[in-house]
């Protein structure tokens, strides 16, 4: 009689039903997002091809080719987003620092809620506010800027009569991206090592010097990712641009004139209702370009954040 070689009894590892359901549902959820992204990409590419390969002069309303049409729009998209960030970044950092380091605890909490509340305002409301309130109110100020600071290249040119310039759009966009940027900055500032801050103060630093030495260097990658998040939102904003901007097909750095470069998203919103045939394909092709731009921006943001992972609050 030979003893069979010893084997471990085959025992099922305990996989409970709940485990199985949960793991498969996460897999499904994960694949859905990929499938959706792939579907959107395929749609954009398939619908863009007719416009991209169209012969010169065959696209409705466009005398030259597609790239001449999309050029000013790409410029306008980036320019409006850049202006918006120039406005909102310092404010976001200021508000976040105030909440995290200056304000009394209770004030800080209330202010935090209010900033978050801004994020819940629908963009159409911002658009109405920009077109009906901000533009007419700010127009006299633009005239003043134009006459008195007109030597500054951006403020030169024929000043607008309605206030619907790219600067007005940038201000509204700046307000819109403020909440998300403030929220991220605030979290990062709060994570600045307490010991560093106390050490700085103990060495005789004032509060501002302490923030300069201990908080800001630590928070830099976090601030960058906040800016990138804001940029992503500003690039794609549609309704505000469509409702507030006075667009023209130009590449112009002047921020106070009536002839402003339009953004891709704003242009689609304006022209889609009356578009037909190849015109629709052209607009979708500009959408594809926007998709690529946002993809690149997000990739850069990822790269920056990953490179500085050791210091960011992310780990």
């Amino acid at each position: 009689m030979t003893t069979p070689p010893f084997t471990l009894p085959k025992r099922k590892t305990t996989v409970r039903l709940g485990d199985r359901i949960f793991s498969s549902s996460t897999i499904v959820a994960g694949s859905i997002i990929l499938a959706v992204l792939a579907a959107v990409t395929l749609f954009l590419i398939a619908q863009s091809i007719p416009a991209l390969v169209a012969k010169q002069g065959t696209l409705p309303g466009i005398t030259t080719n597609f790239w001449d049409y999309v050029g000013p729009l790409v410029f306008g998209t980036l320019w409006a987003a850049l202006l918006a960030l120039l406005i909102s970044t310092p404010i976001a950092i200021g508000v976040a620092l105030f909440i995290s380091h200056y304000a009394p605890r209770r004030v800080a909490q209330v202010l935090g809620y209010i900033v978050d509340l801004l994020a819940a305002v629908p963009s159409v409301v911002f658009g109405l506010w920009g077109a009906k309130v901000l533009a007419p109110t700010i127009q006299p100020f633009y005239e003043w800027l134009n006459t008195n600071v007109g030597w500054f290249p951006l403020f030169s040119g024929d000043v607008t009569g309605t206030g619907r310039t790219i600067l007005t759009v940038a201000i509204v966009l700046g307000v819109m991206v403020l909440p998300i940027m403030t929220a991220v900055c605030r979290e990062i500032f709060l994570q600045a090592p307490r010991l560093h801050e106390e050490a700085a103060l103990a060495l005789g630093a004032t509060r501002w010097e302490m923030i300069q030495m201990a908080v800001l260097p630590f928070a830099r990658p976090g601030i960058i990712s906040a800016v990138m998040l804001g940029l992503g939102r500003a690039l794609g904003e549609t309704l505000v641009v469509a409702m507030v901007l006075s667009p023209a097909a130009v590449v112009s750095f002047l921020v106070l004139t009536s002839q402003n470069p339009n953004t891709i998203a704003g242009n689609i919103a304006l022209q889609y209702p009356e578009a037909f045939g190849l015109g629709v394909n052209t607009l979708i092709a500009t959408g594809l370009i926007l998709f690529v731009i946002t993809f690149i921006v997000n990739a850069i943001a990822r790269y920056v954040v990953n490179r500085r992972k050791a210091f960011s609050g992310a780990n």
């Binding site: 309303g61 619907r164 794609g236 009356e274 578009a275």
Partner: protein, 363 residues
Amino acid sequence: MKFSRIGSIAAVAVAATIVLSSCASNEAAAPSDSNSAAALTGTLAGIGSSAQGTAQTNWIKNFQTENPDVTINYDPQGSGAGRTAFISGAADFAGSDAALKDEELSGTFGKCAPDSKAIDLPVYISPIAIAYNVDGLTDLKLDADTVAGIFKGTIKTWNDKAITALNPDATLPSAKITVVHRSDDSGTTQNFAQWVSANAPTVWDAEATQTYPYKVGDAAKGTSGVADAVKSSPNSITYIDDSAAGDFGKAQLKVGDAFSTISAEGAAAVVAKSPLVEGRETNDLAINIDRKNTEANAWPLVLVSYLITCQTYTDPAVGTLVKAYAGYVASADGQTAAATAAKSAPLSTDLSSKVAAAIATIK
């Protein structure tokens, strides 16, 4: 941990808010269905011109009150979108500020019987005003060349010689003229451009399309956006559907040798005297608007918007319904309803009977 769980819920909430607060402006209303066996039953879907929007809302309301078992949905997405949807068969009828183009007519139509074509029925005539916002200026007189100059940017101030010559008695400011035009493609722009290019061809050298051709002045979205911009900017001028011109000053235009004031009758008279587009089927009433009409009080700066339907529908039930609805729209009742609600110009008797005859042949 409890704390991080609250944190993650908060994160989801924040993300949801951001996602939800980004725009979703074009959510179509779900069609409601009706079921009963009265004279007329069923559901019609129309898509098209936003200029007709107000009028369509009123027509539908009145028609549905008369025929409680009928549901009509009109989605004012725009003329181009309406024609595209009608051609593909997604809509039972379309509203359009321009008649079907020849190349569109040469194709097939989704809802029409194979051997049948679509027809254009003029049902909505709307005068376009040259509206301005200048303090103290009440009756501005302009001729086509001056209008073209202002909107092309060659006439830059209110006290320009060209304007003062036409308005010797008015006190005109020395201020810069702020031209406001549409930033989106629009039938209003196209009709305005057709009028200027017909009457001032030497100045207005651009083709008349739905896109504003010159890089002049400020642009705003839609009729309401343009109205807002003019309202809030002193010394501005625009072309705008009369129904939205509200309290603005409205310029008189030189027609022939006299100046005429904007009026629904003047607009209707111009359309009534205009010939039909040639080479179309008998029931296709596409109008070739006579922009150079010189009769007294005529207002050739006018927009004609069409109801586009099939001559014969594949589904006779849809045909019956469209026929009844179009019949009401073109009737005296329907035209009065639109005139009251949207300040449109009722069809003249002559044109009205032509439209009625065309509608009678819809199957």
